[in-house]
């Protein structure tokens, strides 16, 4: 019981951290990256993309 409570807390914290990230933080710094870094940037899978895109539609 105790460990499952911990697990839930950690999982929730991680989820909240990812959810709370504003879309503007994604757009703000990518142009500052060098071309080499852009080539090394991993992109989100298609399943995540829909969600990300709909979030970026909000005004920044």
């Amino acid at each position: 019981m105790r460990s499952s409570g911990w697990l839930a807390a950690v999982a929730m914290a991680v989820c909240l951290a990812f959810e709370g990230r504003p879309a503007s933080a994604q757009t703000a710094d990518l142009t500052e990256l060098a071309l080499e870094d852009l080539l090394n940037t991993e992109i989100t899978s298609v399943s995540c993309k829909e969600q990300t895109l709909s979030r970026t539609a909000a005004p920044v």
Binding site: G5, Q26, L30, E42, T44, S45
Partner: protein, 183 residues
Amino acid sequence: MAHLRPYRLLVFSCVLVGATTLDLRAAGAQGERRDEYHVKAAFLYNFAKFIQWPESDRSEMLVVGVVGHSPFNEVFEAVVTGKSVNGRVIVVRQFQSDDDPRAFNIIFIGVSEARRTADILLRVGGASVLTVGETPHFLTEGGIVQFYVRENRVRFDINSAGANQAGLRISSQLLSLAKQVSE
């Protein structure tokens, strides 16, 4: 475990704050996953930096046309709004079907607009327009830069012969980073 005891609440809060901090740090670091179109938009911005348009084109604006109504339009506008390259302010416009493609400096044709690709490239007809696309045969159709995705990363090929014909000078740095350069 109906109620969280105070110390548990404290521990939970610490974990929450810790995870958020780590996440914010990761946002600025390499290796984090980004949306594909954010990355492509940043590439497009970089292309503008590493390409020289002919001397005859002295406009203070660098006009980017986006073909189709893909989410890329909003992403790209958000990425480049207020930015300038080499002293030219970047302006993003939706490409309308009756627009003259030669009035743009850069045209991005998304994968959803594959049917219009050949027609638009034909109408560009060797003018100094950087055409950027995503369809598999974009370069053989006469396009200049083609995006594709390998191993979850955005890559690009360059049609350097096409760029020369269009009077666009592509920096050697950009050419060296392209996976394939067709002469």
